[in-house]
């Protein structure tokens, strides 16, 4: 029996994955961050401030909602939704930015930078920066700036500078490169809030810890409502922060199956997707060793997904490890299937999900009918779909 709380090791390794593969200039700041986090993790005053912010500012705990019509229509397992879409700023991302911003404040940093794909992490970073009076610069792929325009507007209103990144594939991975370059240059006064469980150690660990509130609540809520643990957890995986946030508290509960849902794009067989765990292989990118989408020469290849937040060629190293040891299952959902999930939740439950979360819904739609009616699935509804109205309107053929 693996003691999952012992991972990562002190150098950030989850088995062969993770670690610190960073330029020399960042090694000392990363160590400083790891030390500061280790101190604050055990500091009751820090934890009290974090808990108060999560309650009064984010609006936690988020509800665990039984999706009755969806459950009835699918005719199998009971489907509960963990309603991260109801958090302040509309997604799970704020759980992490609240925590990292408190760290930034304690480290005396005056400037926040962040990368963003769908814009949810950018909005969540701009939000906490506004609240703490910190300068905020958000790097966003130029293509994502176009497809997630409402979130760009929100970030600007919150006082952040949004920098469109035109290098490489003009999406999330390039935004991450650019944020790293900024950090290397302004390392003295700048705190880099990474939005997912990737990057060099300690980021995969600390983002996981801040997001694990999702699973801690879900576990208690499920026990309170059903008197037992769920049978399956389902969450979408880009970098994998909402999935690890839901999974982590349940890793030791062997009866609980876990499904991470990657972006299948046009279909795995077409090569146009963003599913490194399903169809990639291990390599090193953005400071850690993990599964990547790469060519035979080790060059990172372009990804495709309808959802900007999943459009990333890597994945958090803890997921890579959970895949290899068989603790979690990773599957892919295509763009079209995700849209079916989007429509299902919108029309049957009156909840408009983010396109990212729609991937998780779509997999639950496949899974539920294979399970019995007394079994329970918890789907992480990681964000709401307001930001995706442009994309959806275009696909559904109506004026926005």
């Amino acid at each position: 029996m693996i003691d999952y709380s012992k991972f990562p090791d002190e150098h950030g390794h989850f088995g062969p994955y993770g670690g610190i593969f960073a330029p020399e200039t960042l090694m000392a700041p990363l160590e400083e961050l790891a030390d500061a986090y280790a101190r604050m993790k055990n500091d009751p005053a820090f934890q009290a401030e974090l808990d108060a912010d999560l309650a009064d500012y984010v609006g936690r705990p988020s509800p665990l909602y039984l999706a009755r019509r969806m459950t009835d229509e699918l005719g199998g397992a009971k489907i509960y939704l963990k309603r991260e879409d109801l958090n302040h700023t509309g997604a799970h991302k704020v759980n992490n930015t609240i925590g990292q911003a408190l760290l930034a404040k304690r480290l005396g940093k005056t400037r926040i930078i962040a990368e963003t794909g769908a814009g949810q992490h950018g909005v969540a970073s701009a939000t906490v920066a506004a609240r703490l009076g910190l300068e905020c610069v958000v790097y966003m792929g130029a293509d994502d700036v176009v497809r997630q325009a409402p979130n760009v507007a929100r970030m600007k209103m919150l006082g952040a500078t949004v920098v469109p990144v035109t290098s490489g594939t003009r999406t999330l991975k390039d935004a991450l490169n650019e944020a790293m370059r900024d950090w290397v240059t302004h390392v003295d006064n700048t705190f880099y809030i990474i939005g997912t469980v990737a990057g060099p150690h300690p980021y995969p660990m600390l983002v996981r810890d801040f997001q694990s509130v999702i699973g801690r609540e879900a576990r208690q809520q499920c026990l309170a409502k059903e008197g037992r643990l769920p049978d399956a957890l389902v969450a979408c995986v880009g970098g994998g922060s909402n999935a690890i946030g839901l999974f982590h508290e349940f890793l030791g509960d062997e009866s609980v199956k876990m499904y991470g849902v990657e972006a299948g794009g046009d279909g795995i067989e077409t090569g146009r997707h963003a599913a490194p765990l399903c169809a990639g292989r291990p390599g090193v990118l953005h400071g850690n060793r993990t599964y990547l989408m790469e060519d035979e020469n080790g060059q990172i290849i372009g990804t495709h997904s309808i959802s900007a937040g999943l459009d990333y060629p890597g994945v958090g190293p803890e997921h890579a490890w959970l895949k290899d040891i068989g603790r979690a299952n990773y599957v892919a959902i295509t763009d079209d299937e995700a849209l079916d999930g989007f429509r299902m939740l919108t029309r049957r439950e009156g909840i408009i999900p983010a396109l990212e979360s729609s991937h998780a819904i779509a997999h639950a739609m496949k899974l539920a009918p294979t399970m019995s009616k007394d079994e329970i699935i918890i789907v992480n509804l990681s964000g709401r779909g307001d930001k995706d109205m442009n994309t959806i309107a275009k696909i559904e053929g109506f004026e926005f």
Binding site: T25, L26, T185, G298
Partner: protein, 273 residues
């Protein structure tokens, strides 16, 4: 003695600092690189740093990012880069060649296979930007077994404890990153670099090279007075970009600047000591 160590020994005997130009392999196209390497040596380069293109060069500024994109448009792979070094070696057995790049193109080959092939091609040292000593045990073993030098970076933020670990694990020379930033950033602060190098001398028994932010002959001369090697990259790559459609114009422009830097570095040593 490795080709890098013997080159530094010769330079020390002649009271010269090494000039190490950087170019990205395959920029602006694969046909230019080997000829340009020979021309750099003819104009006064003592060692050569050859960039291995990678799709996600997170420690590089826009100039070298664009060079990488030009090379990758021709699908320049690690094998192609090693072929260029082999071809260079048929005419030049003396000038050390260092590969500079990111880990993933090495990782995909496997450390041992990469080290074997690189040594066979005539590579002398490897500098991998995103491979810190902490993760480098098996990587170092593979390079050492193949007789390749392991060049690590030291930056203004590197604490003394890590400098010692770098001094233990590295070989050939240590590359001091003269400023906090990406390649091609703002100009360096000479007094600040001098102060840091003095501190490093006490901890590192290897030649100290300086790079990042050296844009002109004057700065190259100032660095030659205080460092064992001067690495020049973005300013040369910028000239390659300006003349990207004309290989002879590239050789002329890049060669002229390298020659000017060489002269300034020689003057700095002869007048300063």
């Amino acid at each position: 003695m490795s080709r890098i160590a013997s080159r530094f020994a010769e330079l020390r005997a002649a009271n010269r600092a090494a000039l190490i130009p950087y170019i990205t392999a395959g920029d602006p196209n694969p046909g230019v690189t080997v000829g340009l390497m020979h021309h750099l040596v003819a104009q006064g380069a003592d060692l050569l740093e050859l960039g291995v293109p990678f799709s996600d060069p997170m420690a590089d500024g826009p100039v070298i990012q664009r060079a990488t994109e030009r090379a990758l448009a021709h699908h320049v792979s690690m094998h192609d880069v090693l072929r260029m070094v082999s071809e260079f070696r048929t005419m030049d057995a003396a000038t050390p060649v260092i590969l500079m790049g990111y880990l993933n193109p090495i990782e995909v080959l496997g450390y041992e296979a990469f080290a074997r092939e690189a040594a066979a091609a005539g590579v002398d040292g490897v500098l991998t930007v995103d491979m810190p000593p902490e993760e480098a045990t098996s990587y170092n073993d593979a390079l050492r077994a193949a007789g390749l030098d392991r060049i690590f970076l030291v930056s203004p933020t590197t604490p003394a404890r890590r400098v010692q670990s770098i001094a233990r694990q590295g070989s050939g020379f240590v590359y001091y990153v003269s400023l906090k930033g990406v390649t091609g950033s703002a100009s360096l602060d000479v007094a600040d670099v001098e102060h840091h190098l003095a501190a490093l001398r006490g901890q590192i028994d290897m030649p100290l090279g300086v790079g990042f932010g050296i844009r002109d002959a004057r700065t190259a001369g100032q660095m030659a007075a205080i460092a064992d090697a001067v690495v020049v990259g973005s300013v040369l790559v910028n000239l390659i970009e300006q003349h990207r459609d004309d290989a002879s114009a590239i050789r002329q422009a890049v060669g002229a600047l390298v020659a000017e830097m060489r002269a300034a570095m020689n003057n700095a040593r002869s007048s300063g000591e």
